[in-house]
């Protein structure tokens, strides 16, 4: 089944309370996905010449300070780091590929959950409310956030198989549904240089969009192409550094509801995830059309 939720702020009014507004949305979708949950939050952007990574290590007592020091010495640049439970956000004064290379040499067991200038992905196996509290979701600030509660169908219940998936800089995707042509598409994308961490079908959709964006497509054009090339059932919510998109397949059997006010756009699998939002009583509420995508971008 799975539940997906997203909240995109159109101005800075609620930026300091983004996590607080989003937490009940995520938790309300527990019925649709009680086995794992995760979210991608955008904010606290690093400047030009910096990259921001979210890292995870299976060892809860992993020595992040040591890794950060070694990484700094190896790259010869400044690093800022902040730990959140068993996940760490590193801000490194270098480019993404150098950072990835240095990290792989230092410790191949460290998993990169996200990379970019703004995105942070936090996800785990367990009940959404436990994951929200583990990462202190309610205290988080940012411009937009996308989350997922998982009821696994296509691959195992693992942290790696939980959403959001990120295969490119600042891009993430959450998915409700199942893709039928993901194996062949994964092979094609691998030949195009996209790397995958799992056998999960949703990761292929994220990889596909990364590939199209790398080819120079705008988000809108990439989504148009996705409608042609992805086969199966899907409702997607997609985040980029400045953008937020929702798309449903032509059959549209996976639910979705959108709400918009002057201050935000919110998306959820079911309306009940939106009821705690401010001004929802007077929001424009509608069901997104099949084979149609909706995109919002901050200028």
């Amino acid at each position: 089944m799975c539940g997906i939720v997203g909240l995109y702020l159109k101005n800075d009014k609620f930026e300091n309370s983004l996590g607080e507004l989003f937490e009940p949305m995520l938790i309300s979708m527990t019925d649709r996905g009680p086995d794992s949950a995760g979210f991608a939050i955008y904010g606290d952007e690093v400047g030009e010449g910096w990259v921001k990574l979210t890292l995870r290590h299976p060892d809860e007592d992993y020595r992040w300070e040591e890794l950060s020091d070694n990484l700094s010495a190896s790259l010869g640049c400044e690093i800022k780091w902040m730990q959140n439970a068993n996940v760490v956000v590193l801000k490194i004064n270098t480019n993404e590929s150098s950072a990835r290379r240095a990290l792989a040499e230092l410790d191949a067991d460290v998993l990169i959950l996200s990379a970019g200038s703004s995105i942070e992905i936090l996800k785990e196996v367990g009940l959404p409310e436990n994951i929200a509290s583990k990462f202190n979701l309610s205290g988080m600030k940012g411009s937009h956030i996308i989350g997922h509660t998982r009821m696994a169908t296509e691959s195992a219940v693992t942290m790696e198989g939980s959403h959001p998936f990120s295969t490119g800089s600042d891009l993430c995707l959450v998915h409700n549904g199942s893709l039928s042509n993901h194996n062949r598409l994964r092979d094609t994308l691998k030949r195009e240089g996209i790397t995958f961490e799992t056998e999960n079908d949703s990761e292929v959709a994220a990889g596909y969009l990364t590939w199209r964006l790398n080819q120079g497509d705008s988000l809108k054009v990439a989504l148009e192409n996705a409608l042609k090339d992805l086969d199966g059932f899907f409702t997607f919510t997609i985040g980029t550094k400045d953008g937020f998109a929702v798309m449903r397949d032509p059959i549209a059997c996976k639910p979705a509801v959108l709400a918009e006010t002057d201050d935000y756009v919110a998306m959820a699998s079911e309306y009940q995830a939106l009821v705690s939002l401010p001004g929802i009583e007077n929001a424009k509420v509608w069901e997104p059309e099949p084979a149609t995508f909706y995109v919002w971008e901050r200028k």
Binding site: A252, C253, P255, E270, Y271, Q272, V285, E287, P290
Partner: protein, 227 residues
């Protein structure tokens, strides 16, 4: 008038109280506040009562309704009035997919738009939609009427049996074995009655009628020996 606040009471409490009206109607008018997208609100009613739901409801609202008059002052999720037997269900806003699915009688009025598969496998209900309907609507519809004042999506009336479909706007495409048919005087009279019953101010002469061409397997006498 009895008010049930779903911020304070559960849907189960509400439905239990409404079900008790079958034996003994203590209150004819019920008001439900704070539905907040909850599923299964006012399901399985079997009493001549009216229920007004103020706000948006979730899935299967007023499902299996019998004789009751349910009005939702907001939107509804999937499967509103599914398998309704009789009575009236009115949605002031939009309905998600499968509105009135398999419903056997009564009247379903949707004042906004309905999503995909509106009236799928309907078996006698009358559905009047003031707005438009989504794709695959009235799939395998068996009897009853579907009136659409807006447009219809792809594959309207696919594998249709005997539902009378009336559409005022455009039809994106017709499903297998669904064709446009003449509006004869009895159809104009039927549509006029449906529009009046639904309280919708439209001219029946502006509508086109669609129905089954009766060319599929089950309609062929040659296949009768298979049963």
């Amino acid at each position: 008038m009895m008010t049930v606040d779903l911020a304070a009471q559960s849907v189960r409490d509400l439905n239990k109280a409404l079900h008790e009206c079958k034996e003994n109607i203590t209150e004819k008018e019920w008001v439900v506040t704070n539905p907040k997208g909850n599923h299964n609100i006012a399901v399985g009613l079997d009493a001549e009562i009216s229920v007004d739901i103020h706000g948006h409801a979730g899935y299967f609202c007023a499902g299996m309704n019998k004789t009751a008059n349910v009005t939702v002052h907001g939107n509804v999720g999937q499967g509103v009035a599914e398998n309704m037997m009789s009575g009236v269900v009115r949605v002031k806003g939009d309905a998600s997919q499968a509105a009135g699915a398999t419903a056997q009688g009564g009247l379903l009025v949707i004042e906004g738009n309905a999503g995909a598969r509106c009236g799928i496998s309907m078996k006698g209900v009358d559905i009047v939609v003031k707005g438009s309907i989504g794709h695959m609507s009235c799939f395998m519809g068996q009897s009853g009427s579907l009136v659409v004042c807006g447009d219809a999506g792809e594959a309207l009336g696919d594998s249709l049996y005997e539902v009378h479909i009336y559409v005022k706007g455009s039809v994106k495409s017709l499903g297998a074995d669904c064709i446009e048919k003449d509006m004869r005087s009895e159809h104009i009279a039927e549509l006029k009655g449906l529009l009046e019953k639904a309280g919708v101010d439209e001219n029946p002469l502006d509508f086109k009628r669609y129905g089954s061409a009766r060319q599929l397997y089950t309609f062929k006498v040659d296949n009768a020996s298979a049963y």
